[in-house]
């Protein structure tokens, strides 16, 4: 009985046919010579069920690994499927929390007034726009063929607000030493994070995997990645140092 879905000739009539789950798009009973007598034994039916679950799980994992390895996607992938995809939830929440924490910090120094909140928000937003425009301009000048959209850049630039919040809160709790310590650690971590994320998107595929690719183009792109990553600690310090006394 030649089954059109089977990839190979089924030459077995024993339980060793269980493991070939890749052909098992349909119930495994189809194609076996004597389904009735085969399934009659309880152990073999249990083993067949287990084997087919294992095979389908294995196939699933292989498919999932394909998703995670291919970073040059055609369409943006939602964070539900790719946990490392940038999204605007953390940046927006962190931005608003930064404004509130800045107000709190100003209040502890008796420098607070309600219009200062709007001023802080406006200032931080203006710096964010300047930073995104600068990154867009430098990406255009270096002719990088990347799938980084503007919104992706806004999301990546918004991740530094988390470190800023941590710095300000530690400055409120532990004074200037706490502020500098935690801010330095957050700056280093966001530097590493930006380099690792942008390296995949900006550099060519070969260079991104760690192979040393010589050439002026890749060197320029690496400098660009490092410059973008280095902007983040600068902004983190610039936007918080006046809040911690």
């Amino acid at each position: 009985v030649a089954d059109p879905h089977q990839l190979f000739d089924d030459t077995s009539s024993s339980a060793t046919a269980l493991g070939r789950g890749y052909a098992a798009q349909q119930p495994p009973a189809v194609g076996y010579p004597a389904p009735g007598s085969f399934l009659a034994e309880p152990v073999s039916s249990f083993a067949m069920a287990y084997g087919s679950t294992l095979a389908s799980q294995g196939k699933e994992i292989v498919d999932k690994n394909d998703w995670q390895v291919r970073y040059q996607q055609d369409t943006p992938v939602a964070p539900r499927f790719d946990i490392n995809a940038p999204d605007l939830y953390i940046p927006v929440m962190a931005f608003i929390t930064y404004i509130l924490v800045a107000g709190l910090a100003l209040g502890t120094q008796n420098r607070f007034s309600p219009d200062l909140l709007g001023l802080q928000a406006s200032s931080a937003l203006a710096w964010l726009i300047v930073e995104v425009l600068a990154i867009l301009l430098s990406l255009y000048l270096v002719t990088v063929n990347t799938d980084l959209t503007t919104i992706d850049l806004v999301a990546f630039s918004g991740y530094k607000y988390v470190g800023m919040i941590v710095g300000i809160v530690s400055g409120l709790l532990f004074g200037k030493t706490g502020y500098y310590l935690l801010l330095t650690w957050c700056c280093l971590s966001i530097f590493v994070f930006m380099i690792r994320t942008l390296r995949l998107k900006i550099l060519s595929e070969a260079a991104a995997e760690g192979v040393l690719v010589r050439g002026a183009k890749n060197q320029l792109r690496m400098y660009l990645t490092m410059a973008i990553a280095g902007l983040q600690p600068l902004f983190m310090y610039w936007l918080t140092f006046h809040l911690v006394r």
């Binding site: 406006s122 203006a126 726009i129 300047v130 255009y140 000048l141």
Partner: protein, 81 residues
């Protein structure tokens, strides 16, 4: 401090500065004319070629809107200081 309004002002001044660069009298002498840089149909336009392209595009696109935006800004600054 640095507000969104000052960002708008700075952007307007910057685009005005780009629009004012004269093609024949200035850019050609510096070597940034539009007929001087684009060499061949190679793969990689360098940074200078990209910059020249950008300047030319900004000047072409923003010429008419800049008239309108500048006039509005002048009137508003007159009225409200």
């Amino acid at each position: 401090a640095f507000t969104l309004y000052s960002l708008l002002q700075a952007a307007l001044l910057f685009v005005n500065a780009i629009a004012v660069l004269h093609e024949e009298r200035f850019l050609r002498n510096v070597g940034w004319g539009t007929d001087q840089g684009i060499g061949g149909f190679g793969e990689e336009p360098g940074i200078k070629a990209q910059l020249m392209n950008l300047i030319r595009s900004v000047r072409t696109v923003m010429r008419v809107p800049l008239i309108a935006v500048n006039s509005i800004t002048i009137v508003l600054l007159f009225l409200f200081g």
